[in-house]
C-alpha cells in the first residue's frame, strides 16, 4: 500500500517536473496537430465540384463592390434607395390601414358599445385607450417594416451586406467597434428592436454589446414620421415655400446623420471605459454571392422579424393606451392627472427648450415612438381646453394637414427652438419598451439593459439643454 502511494507520488512529481519542460503552449500544439491531421484526411477524401466560373465571377464583383472608387457610392445609393422605397412605399398601406382601423373600425366599435349600453369608462378605457394605441402602432409600424425588412434580408441573402461591413470596418475599428455594426445600425433605421436582435451576427462579446447599446441612435421607423412632420412645420416654414420641402428633408437627414455621429462617439467612449475589459475578437466571413431565395426570404423576414416585433409592440402598446386614457380622465381634485403632470414637468421641460406636454408624452409613449405625436396633440388640446379638435379626453388623434397641426402646437407655445429640440430629443431618448425588453433578452443583464436605456436620455437632456441655452443667448429671448 505504502509502496503504491510512493509510486503514485513519484509519477505525479515527474509529471509536474515535465510540465515545466513542455512549455506553455502544449495544449495549443496538440489542438493544432489534431486539426492538421483532420485537414489532411479531409483533403484526401473530399470531392469538390468545379466552381471556377462562379468563383471568378464572385471575385470580379468583389473588386467592384469593395473598390476604393465605387465601394462607397454603391453603398450609399443602395441604402438611399431602400430607405426611399420604404418611406414612400409605406405611405399608401399606412394610409389605408389608418382609414380601416381608425375611420371605419373605430366608429363601428363605438356604435356597438353605445348600443349595448356599456359603461362609458369601460368603453373609454378599452376602445379609446387600448384599441386606439394598438391600431395606431399597427397602422404606422407594420407597412414600413413589411417593406424594409424583406429588402434588407434580400441584400443579406445575396451576400452584399458582409461586403458593406468589410468596406466600413476600418471606420468602426477606430471607434472600437466591429464592421458588422454597420449592418445592425442600418437595421436599426427600420426598427431598433430588430437591430438589437441582428447584433447576433457579431461574434465578439465587446463589440456586440457596443452595437446593442448604441443601436438606439439609429433613427427608427417609428420616429421618421415625427421628424418629417416637425421639420415641415418648424424648419420648412423658415425658408421660402419653394425650398420648404427640400429644407425639411435635409434637416431630417441631418438628424439621422447626427444619430450616426452619436453611434460612433458613444461606441468609442464605451469601448474605452465601461466595456474595456470585455473579450474582443474579429473575424468577418465573406460568403459567396448567390441568387436570393425570394419567397423564402419574404416569408422568413415577415414572420421572423416583422411579426415578432409587431407582436411585442402591440403587447406593450395596449397598456400604454390604457394609461394615456386613464391619466386624462382621472381627476385629482379638479385637474386631471395628465394636466397635473404637465404642469409639474413644465419647468424642467422649458429649461430644456421643450415643455411639460412633450416630456409627459415621451413618458407615456415609451412603448412605441409612433404614438408620440398623437399623444402630444391630444395632451396639448386637453391642457389648453381647445374645443372643436380631437375626439375627447384621452383619445389620441392626428390631423390631416400639417398646418392645422402647426396651429395647435403654436397655440401650445411652441417655437422653432421647441421644434428643433423635439427633433433632437426624438433622436436622443430612451429606447422604446420593445427594444428595452429585447436588449434584456439578448444580453440577459440588467446592467447593460439599464445602461442602454438611461445613457441616451441623459445625452438627450444635455444636448437639448445646451442647444436651448445657446439659442436663447443668441436670440436674446
Amino acid at each position: 500500500m505504502v509502496e503504491i502511494k510512493d509510486k503514485a507520488s513519484e509519477i505525479i512529481d515527474l509529471a509536474s517536473e515535465l510540465r515545466w519542460q513542455v512549455g506553455d503552449d502544449f495544449h495549443d500544439r496538440l489542438t493544432e496537430g489534431i486539426y492538421a491531421d483532420a485537414a489532411t484526411i479531409t483533403e484526401r477524401v473530399e470531392q469538390k465540384p468545379d466552381r471556377k466560373i462562379s468563383y471568378s465571377f464572385d471575385r470580379a464583383l468583389d473588386k467592384i463592390l469593395t473598390s476604393g472608387t465605387f465601394g462607397f457610392p454603391i453603398m450609399i445609393l443602395v441604402l438611399a434607395v431602400i430607405l426611399w422605397i420604404t418611406i414612400q412605399g409605406a405611405n399608401y398601406p399606412s394610409g389605408a390601414l389608418a382609414v380601416l382601423l381608425l375611420d371605419i373600425v373605430y366608429p363601428f366599435l363605438k356604435d356597438i358599445s353605445s348600443n349595448l349600453g356599456i359603461y362609458w369608462w369601460i368603453d373609454g378605457l378599452l376602445i379609446d385607450g387600448v384599441y386606439m394605441a394598438v391600431a395606431w402602432v399597427i397602422a404606422v409600424m407594420l407597412p414600413p417594416m413589411a417593406i424594409f425588412f424583406p429588402l434588407f434580408t434580400l441584400l443579406e441573402d445575396f451576400g452584399y451586406l458582409p461586403r458593406v461591413a468589410f468596406n466600413l470596418d476600418s471606420l468602426f475599428k477606430r471607434a472600437g467597434a466591429h464592421g458588422k455594426q454597420a449592418l445592425t445600425m442600418s437595421m436599426g433605421w427600420g426598427c431598433n428592436a430588430a437591430g438589437v436582435v441582428a447584433t447576433r451576427i457579431i461574434d465578439s462579446p465587446r463589440e456586440r454589446l457596443i452595437a446593442i447599446i448604441t443601436n438606439n441612435f439609429s433613427l427608427c421607423n417609428g420616429r421618421w414620421p415625427t421628424q418629417i412632420l416637425i421639420a415641415t412645420i418648424f424648419i420648412g416654414a423658415l425658408v421660402p415655400s419653394g425650398l420648404a420641402n427640400l429644407t425639411a428633408s435635409l434637416s431630417v437627414i441631418t438628424i439621422a446623420m447626427l444619430g450616426v455621429f452619436f453611434t460612433f462617439f458613444s461606441s468609442w467612449v464605451l469601448s474605452k471605459t465601461m466595456l474595456k475589459g470585455e473579450v474582443s475578437t474579429f473575424t468577418l466571413e465573406l460568403p459567396p454571392y448567390r441568387p436570393p431565395r425570394f419567397w423564402k426570404t419574404i416569408y422568413t423576414s415577415i414572420i421572423d422579424r416583422t411579426l415578432i416585433v409587431l407582436w411585442r409592440a402591440i403587447v406593450f402598446a395596449a397598456p400604454a393606451g390604457a394609461i394615456i386614457w386613464l391619466i386624462s380622465n382621472i381627476d385629482v381634485g379638479d385637474v386631471s392627472i395628465a394636466n397635473l403632470a404637465i404642469s409639474s414637468f413644465d419647468g424642467f421641460g422649458v429649461l430644456l427648450g421643450l415643455n411639460g406636454v412633450i416630456l409627459l408624452a415621451y413618458i407615456v409613449a415609451i412603448p412605441a415612438n409612433e404614438i408620440v405625436i398623437p399623444t402630444i396633440l391630444m395632451l396639448t388640446v386637453s391642457n389648453l381646453a381647445i374645443t372643436g379638435v380631437g375626439a375627447g379626453e384621452g383619445v389620441m388623434f392626428e390631423l390631416d394637414s400639417s398646418s392645422e397641426t402647426a396651429e395647435i402646437l403654436k397655440a401650445g407655445g411652441w417655437t422653432v427652438l421647441t421644434g428643433i429640440n423635439l427633433m433632437l430629443f426624438s433622436l436622443l431618448h430612451n429606447p422604446c419598451s420593445t427594444t428595452i425588453y429585447t436588449i434584456y433578452q439578448e444580453t440577459k443583464s440588467w446592467k447593460w439593459t439599464s445602461v442602454a436605456s438611461i445613457l441616451p436620455v441623459i445625452m438627450g437632456f444635455v444636448v437639448t439643454f445646451l442647444v436651448a441655452q445657446v439659442w436663447r443667448l443668441i436670440a436674446g429671448v
Binding site: G23, D62, F166, V279, L351
Partner: protein, 339 residues
Amino acid sequence: MTPDPGIALIVFFILVFVGVLLWKIIKSPFLLQNIKQSKKALVEDILKQLYHVEYSGRTASLNAMAGALKLSDRKIVRLVEDMSSHDLLKLDQDILQLTSSGRDYALKIIRVHRLWEKYLSERTGFDKSEWHDRAEQKEHTLTEEQAEQLYHDLGNPRFDPHGDPIPTEAGEIIETHWKSLSSLSENTVARIVHLEDEPEVIYQQIVAEKLHIGSQVKIIASDNHEVKFFSEGEEYRFSPIVASNISVKELTAQEKYEEDVVRLSSLDPGEKAIILGISSECRGASRRRLLDLGFIAGSSIETEFASPSKEPKAYSIRNTIIALRGDQADLILIKKVNE
C-alpha cells in the same frame, strides 16, 4: 418662466465640473494607493521586491528598498522591524535578506500576480499594457482559495503571458536560463521567451514595435550603440538598453531557424503562402476563433483583396473568404510560395 440661459449654463458647467472632480478623486491613484497601501500590501511589496533582487543575484540595502517602493525611511524601518519579528526577513548590516518563510510568502504573491496576468490575457479584453498594473492591485486581494480556483480554471498554466514561470502552489519554480538579446553575437539565432514589463516606458516601446514572444530572431549586428536583428521578416533596431529587456533562448537542436517566415500582413493581393502557425501573442478567444476558421499550420492561404481603406484584407483559406484586420494578420506566420 424661462430661466436665464447664462445662469443656467453656468450652473450646468459647475455641476459637470464638480461631477468630474468627484470622479477623479474616487478614481485617483493617490486615493487608491492610500487605501490599497495597507500594511499587508506594503509588506507583500517589500517581500516581492526583495525576492526579485535576490533572484537576480544582487543584494538590497534598506535605502535602495525605500527608494524602489517610494517609502519614507522611517516607514520602511518600522515595517522591516515588524517583518523580521515575524521571521519574514533578516536585516544584516543594512543588507536585507529573505528567510525561508519570507521566500515562500513572496512566491505566493508572485504566483497570484502572474496567474492574474494570465487570466487577463486569456479571458478579458484588456490591453497588454494594462495587465501588469491591474495584477499589482489584485495580488494583494485574492485569497489563496481564489488563486487555486483561478489556476484550475485556466488549465493549470505554468507561464504567464510575458513568459515568466508561475510558481506552483508548493512554491516550486524553475530557474530560467535566458540571455538578454543585447548579449548575443552576430548571426546567432534565438527565440524570444520573455519581454520585461518594467520599466513601463521600455515595455511600451517593445510592444509598439510589434515584437512578439515566441518569435525567432537573428542578430545582424550588435555593438554598444545598437542591436540590429531580423524577426518574422521585419528588421528591428534597438538600443542595447531596450534590447536587454528582451530575453531570448538560443534554439535547441530540434528547433530549426525558419529563414523565410514572414507575417500574413506582408502578403500582397494575389500572393500565395503556407501558414506556419499563429504567434503565441494571439491568445484566448481570438486564437480559438482563428483555429476554428482553419488558420492551422500547413494550410494554404492567398490574399484576395483589401478594403477601400487597406484594412481589413480578405484572404482565401479552405475555400472561404475570411477578412482579418492588420493586427491579427501580424500574428499569423506564413511562408510565401512562389509559383
